[in-house]
């Protein structure tokens, strides 16, 4: 199967679809927040509210068969790739119908059928996997581009520099997307990085790299489309830094008391959904009625996903040891002596 690579500038249908996906991510995560507060979601829940332009601008610029990897803040990437909201919400609730059968939870979504290779919980740890996906593409003579999204915090991990080096050395078809939301948990960039721009780090390894406004979905789309074109057509790695802001704390357990109210308000004035809606209205691509109808449709999708998840069965405990290995040892589901639960 071959796909045409998306253009840097979307057409009107494309823009409407992008706005719908951004709205879906926002409403889905607001509902996930409610589910967490109601005690139905456990563990960590990292919301990307405020980062929808970075996510949707990126995914809309890729072919559906371009392998995508992400951090633990990845509900939006899965939704943008077209994963079933029901299966994602069920995963968040730890149910048998979840997209990973309740094994991964919020931080570890994967949808292999959509070339979404997963969300990973160790900061920076997924970047070498993305390099391997790029390696595999070249090994097989494919024209896919491996795209990996990670934060500016991850950019301080040594393994990310190792990957910049190998990508530059071997000219691997990979796009590094540094989603700079300006905080590593509660620590601001200026207290964590010697140089506050991150894209020059990739440039140091002979990787074409630049920075764009991560709150502007069309700017992100254009930058990622160009980066993917470099990787796909010129077989050169690329790196784009997306400057953005998350409106919630690092996770649901973070009361977000560190960041100044004025700073948050300043960034909320640039809410990517609000600004993109203004563009759509201003250019006559959608009218107020169409937007209201779309939002109502999204509300139904999200309510249906939550109801589906809440009504879904728990994971049977007798499946605890399933999938530790590709095949059960000696056909014993408990595995061998050293594989038992």
């Amino acid at each position: 199967m071959t796909h045409a690579a998306p253009t840097a500038q979307p057409d009107h249908d494309g823009m409407r679809a992008m706005f719908r996906t951004m709205t879906l991510i926002r409403r889905f995560e607001e509902r996930a927040s409610d589910e967490y507060m109601a005690g139905r979601i456990g563990g960590f829940l990292h919301l990307a509210i405020g980062e929808e332009a970075a996510i949707v601008g990126t995914v809309s610029a890729l072919r559906p068969d371009d392998p995508l990897t992400s951090t633990y803040r990845e509900h939006g990437q899965a939704l943008a790739r077209g994963s079933d909201p029901r299966a994602i919400m069920a995963e968040l609730l730890g149910r048998a119908t979840g997209i990973c059968g309740g094994r991964g939870g919020s931080m570890h979504l994967m949808d292999r059928d959509r070339s979404f290779y997963g969300g990973y919980g160790i900061v920076g740890g997924a970047v070498p996997l993305a390099l391997g996906l790029a390696w595999a593409t070249r090994y097989r003579g494919g024209d896919q581009v491996s795209v990996t999204m990670f934060g500016e915090g991850a950019a301080n991990q040594g393994v990310v520099s190792e990957c910049f080096n190998m990508a530059g050395l071997w000219d691997l078809p990979i796009v590094f997307l540094i989603l700079n939301n300006q905080y590593g948990m509660g620590t601001p960039v200026e207290r964590a990085a010697a140089v506050e721009d991150f894209y020059p780090r990739a440039a140091a390894y002979d990787i074409e790299s630049w920075k764009v406004d991560g709150m502007d979905v069309l700017a992100v789309r254009g930058a990622v489309a160009e980066a993917a074109r470099l990787a796909r057509e010129e077989r050169r790695p690329a790196c784009v830094e997306l400057l953005a802001y998350r409106y919630r704390g690092h996770s649901m357990s973070d009361p977000d008391t560190v960041r100044a109210t004025e700073e948050k308000e300043r960034w909320k004035a640039r809410d990517p959904l609000v600004t993109f809606e203004r563009v759509l209205l201003g250019e006559g691509i959608m009218d107020a009625d169409a937007i209201a109808a779309m939002q109502a449709e999204i509300d139904d999708v999200v309510a249906d996903a939550a109801a589906f998840a809440e009504e879904s069965p728990e994971v049977p405990v007798d499946q605890l040891a399933r999938d530790v290995y590709a095949r059960p040892w000696n056909d014993d589901p408990r595995g061998s002596a050293l594989m038992r639960p």
């Binding site: 990973c100 740890g125 070498p128 390696w135 190792e162 990957c163 399933r322």
Partner: protein, 333 residues
């Protein structure tokens, strides 16, 4: 003598396995430091660059976490990388990739992706390489569900187990011994695979079961000769893989001999010997006539001085003393 099987070194046995599996399956590629132009730090990959080219025999920068992770990502797509980490000591730099990614991807994503890769690396002490280059880390890897852990002691097993590892769909930690690369013995042919989870009796005996792996098999066999001269007949069993562990074969032997010694070049605390002994207590408590004795390296960072190093690592005399202890004999009796 003409029909005696060819004697092949452990090093060349591994080389044969790599060559045969690369010929058999285009998805197999090798990656590591100095494995191509330099033929590998221990010359295991000698000649493979010439035969298979730079696409399949890849020299990397010194970047263990990075290229181990690259291998994991490539394996998720169905390629079969064989990653060489020059020695097990450098695997510590890649531990996040091995433990947080390789071992967990199949499980935490609900079985959507497998990680069919092999990470080869030699370890062990005895060459005066001092504290940072003498590790035996079997226990660390065996601790982790999702990994398979393989510890060949002979050329035949080195070849047959590596072939099995490359065809296996799970991440396999393949621990070679620096002290065995020159060891010679017969090897199997192209289709002779050694299965995982099947221990082998290296020497049958009645009086005590000695469990040893990798280079320690040879230490245990030397001890068995000494003990035989004293009229003590020990059975030496090599588990060959720790994940999966063939507990049935180990336990059957211990039930027969009623005594067990576990030899392990790693450290004693929470070590491989401790883990195996715990399994044997669970499985054989009522059959035991004496406490199980563990023989480990000393609980110290490995010293450089030759006499200190030799004092720190298990010797045949230590195994002899341990067997004596299970038999209620004084050391040297």
């Amino acid at each position: 003598m003409s029909d005696a099987p060819a004697q092949v070194t452990y090093r060349d046995a591994l080389n044969q396995a790599l060559r045969e599996e690369m010929q058999r399956d285009d998805a197999v590629f090798l990656m590591g430091e100095d494995i191509g132009g330099f033929d590998g730090a221990f010359k295991v990959t000698r000649g493979l660059l010439d035969e298979f080219g730079e696409q399949r025999v890849v020299d990397t920068p010194i970047t263990e976490a990075g290229f181990t992770g690259l291998g994991i990502g490539a394996a998720m797509t169905g390629l079969r990388p064989v990653i060489e980490i020059m020695t097990v000591n450098f695997a510590l730099v890649a531990m996040d990739q091995i433990v947080s990614n390789a071992s967990k991807i199949h499980y935490m994503f609900g079985g959507q992706a497998t990680v069919p890769m092999v990470i080869r690396m030699p370890g062990g002490a005895g060459h005066q390489l001092s504290a940072q280059h003498s590790h035996s880390l079997e226990a660390m890897f065996t601790h982790v569900p999702g990994l398979k852990v393989v510890v060949p002691a002979t050329p035949e097993d080195a070849k047959g187990l590596l072939k099995t590892a490359i065809r296996d769909d799970d991440p396999v930690i393949f621990l070679e011994s620096e002290g065995l690369y020159g060891k010679k013995g017969p090897v199997g042919g192209e289709d002779d695979l050694v299965p995982f989870g099947q221990a082998v009796v290296r020497r049958p005996g009645r009086d005590c079961t000695v469990i040893a792996h990798s280079r320690m098999v040879w230490v245990a066999l030397a001890a068995a000769e000494e003990l035989a001269a004293q009229g003590i007949d020990v059975e030496v069993i090599d588990p060959r893989t720790f994940r999966p562990l063939d507990l049935d074969t180990l336990a059957a032997s211990v039930r027969r001999t009623s005594r067990a010694v576990v030899v392990d070049e790693g450290w004693p605390e929470c070590g491989i010997a401790a883990g195996v002994a715990a399994h044997l207590y669970d499985a054989c408590f009522d059959w035991l006539d004496a406490p199980i004795v563990r023989v480990n390296s000393a609980d110290v960072p490995m010293p450089y001085a030759r006499n200190l190093e030799q004092a720190a690592i298990p010797q045949a005399a230590d195994v002899v003393a341990a067997v004596h202890a299970t038999l209620g004999r004084e050391a040297g009796a």
